[in-house]
């Protein structure tokens, strides 16, 4: 008599997985004092160069799960003049142009470049930021970077008692920070009712970590790239902080899916 293909002979479930993810403080040096003036043409050499180091990466306990790392790079300054001025930016990754853009810094206003691409980063990657302006008087004095984890866990497994705890990351403290908050996106490809925005904590009695998105995706960077120069009336940095998994637990099931 033929056996059900779902009958593997193995126990129906395995030991519970329960990991915590701790995020180190972002790389965020003090403001440049005095600020550095922006040139009125693209500089040959980037003003800002940030190398992703092991000290920036999420810390896992008691062990690391498969995941994708997304970088978040910030740069900012002010326009203390009495006229609105265009600010231009270019971000290079390992010496290759990744992004260009522009926004208008109002008279007396501030700006912050947010660069959160939808591709993975690894230790040793170098992000360079060039800034310039349409007229003299604009400066830069702020830079920061961090790395967040997304798509956590092994693909294509059914799990029971899936539970996540989330916290907003990063928290920037230098300058006069202002932030906008984005939720985590659950994206279980085969259980559409479980897809949606979450923050705080969330549990599911039975679900599946899908082939592509596994535990779900961080909003900005993975679900949607965030690459923009934000102009604000007076403060910088203005940045996106995102619901990010800090604890993940589940019981793997021996089911073929």
């Amino acid at each position: 008599m033929a056996r059900s293909p779902n009958c593997t002979g193995a126990p129906t479930y395995q030991g519970r997985v329960d990991v915590t993810i701790t995020y180190p403080d972002p790389y965020e040096p003090p403001l440049l004092d005095p600020p550095e003036a922006l040139p009125t043409a693209e500089p040959a050499t980037a003003q800002i160069e940030i190398t992703i180091t092991s000290a920036m990466l999420p810390v896992w306990s008691p062990y690391e799960l498969e995941h994708t790392k997304i970088p978040m790079v910030f740069a900012g300054g002010k326009n203390p003049t009495g006229a609105a001025i265009e600010v231009y930016g270019r971000v290079l990754r390992n010496g290759v142009s990744n992004w260009t853009g522009s926004s208008t810094a109002a008279a007396g206003g501030a700006y912050t470049l947010n660069y959160v691409p939808d591709n993975a980063v690894q230790e040793g990657d170098v992000f360079s930021v060039k800034l310039w302006a349409s007229a003299s008087g604009v400066n830069w004095d702020y830079k920061a970077a961090t790395v967040v984890a997304t798509r956590i866990g092994p693909p294509n497994i059914a799990v029971a008692e899936f539970a996540v705890t989330l916290a907003n990351k990063p928290t920037l403290t230098v300058g006069e920070p202002e932030s906008q908050t984005h939720s985590w996106y659950l994206h279980f490809a085969d259980l559409r009712e479980a897809s949606g925005w979450i923050s705080g904590s969330y549990t599911l009695p039975l679900t599946m970590l899908g082939s592509a998105y596994r535990s779900g995706r961080i909003n900005r960077g993975d679900l949607t790239p965030l690459q923009f120069i934000y102009a604000r009336p007076s403060k910088r940095p203005f940045y996106s902080t995102q619901a990010t998994i800090t604890r993940l637990s589940y019981t793997p099931l021996n089911l073929r899916v």
Partner: protein, 62 residues
């Protein structure tokens, strides 16, 4: 409002003059800010509703 244009018809972004030229073109249409991603060759423009960006390509969102 955000407009997204895949494979846009824009000045080369490899040099700063191209960045400033694109900025001038977009400002003339009313753009408030914009970004261009080399990896997926996508232009994202922020500006008021009703902007005519057809000169730059097909607006996917907006």
């Amino acid at each position: 409002m955000e407009y997204v244009i895949k494979n846009p018809n824009i000045p080369s972004q490899e040099i700063g003059e191209g960045v400033m030229a694109l900025d001038a073109q977009l400002r003339s249409k009313g753009a408030e800010g914009w970004g261009y991603s080399f990896g997926d060759n996508t232009l994202t423009v922020s500006g008021p509703e009703g902007m005519d960006l057809s000169a730059f390509g097909v607006v996917a969102d907006g």
